[in-house]
Assembly symmetry: C2
Homo-oligomer: 184 residues x 2
DNA sequence: CTGTATGTTCTGTATAGACAGAAACTAATG
DNA sequence: CATTAGTTTCTGTCTATACAGAACATACAG
């Protein structure tokens, strides 16, 4: 391996990122590996990750697999080196977009599905509590709306986000602005 | 206690909600208690929650405390009953707003803080990797922007969200629209 | 073909968090 | 002021997950 020590700053970030991960239901090591790759200027082989983060090689293998499953890390090869090297997507907006979409797919969508079923069942059961039914309907409506809005935001090109931030407190987000420009 | 059985629909929702919670770093029982209160047409005393969900009374107590900490559940009293009764906020948008703000405060803000420190330290250390520094800066910038946008959305009145949804795919979100209306 | 480098999967252990039940506490009632 | 209802906190156990290390698999080099 080429290098296995971290600058204090990198260390601080990686540790915090790992901590952050755990709070959002993401494995600490997975988050740390991602942080390391995100900061690295070059693709890193698994054994180097292992020594740098001081976690078992097997653990790194699993974490990399997970990250590849999220499609934010990929394998690349380096001339003259048989080992797999790994690199993270570098565009933060892209990372956010991908992770969000993935979590939506894995967690929000099933919830919407269950909720829709609940509403359906509540409607067809006349013995059921009307109040409960109404609660479920409201929740479904809200989550659907929120998901929709979120999807719009997620689809914005990176530049649009910056634009939005500039307009902050005043106005807004012409989602789809870029599309119009392209068309017109 | 008044009633301790759940309709199949309520049960389904509560179980799923608990599951959902665990995926987002929220205790299963806490989420279930919240789901129960959310569906309930009347305030519920702790021991009833305990039997309905089949969890220890102590566990319910802790969960209620947690939910009160989140400010989405509160104690109310019923005439002729010494026991505390609990009810959830019913407005889903309000629940979302409060929970989001709380999580932002607890998790995002500290991250922004650490990140800002990292950038600061990276700048002052000439030996540090320039690439790493740039990565950290980008991340900080992005998170700051995203947080800002999110705060705007969060502050929207409930009605505005519905408006946004109607415009979906076309345009967007005049954040602050309601404020203007009120002022003008 | 054999040995070595590399990577993955399996298995047992450790740990953090969830939870039940007991104990302790608080306050209302007769 | 004792008794009871109600609630919280403490303590030990259980469980799910994370993780290390070993065993296993693959493939390349000589």
């Amino acid at each position: 391996m080429t290098q296995s020590s971290l600058t204090p700053v990198a260390q601080k970030f990686i540790l915090h990122w790992g901590e952050m991960g755990t709070r959002w239901g993401i494995n600490r090591t997975v988050a740390q590996v991602h942080a390391l790759l995100f900061l690295s200027p070059r693709p890193v082989p698994a054994d180097e990750i292992s020594t740098t983060l001081a976690v078992a090689r097997s653990n790194v293998s699993t974490s990399l697999r997970e990250l590849q499953g999220w499609r934010i890390v990929r394998v690349v090869h380096v001339l003259g080196d048989r080992r797999d090297h790994f690199e993270s997507i570098k565009d933060v907006w892209e990372i956010f977009r991908i992770v969000s979409e993935e979590r939506k797919r894995r967690e929000i969508d099933p919830t919407l599905h269950v909720l829709a079923e609940c509403v359906q069942e509540a409607k067809s059961d006349p013995k059921g509590d009307a109040y409960t039914r109404e609660r479920l309907e409201t929740m479904l409506e809200f989550l659907t709306a929120m998901t929709g809005l979120f999807e719009e935001v997620i689809r914005m090109p990176t530049g649009a986000l910056k634009g939005v931030v500039k307009l902050r407190g005043k106005v807004i987000t012409l989602l789809g602005t870029e599309k119009k420009k392209a068309a017109g």
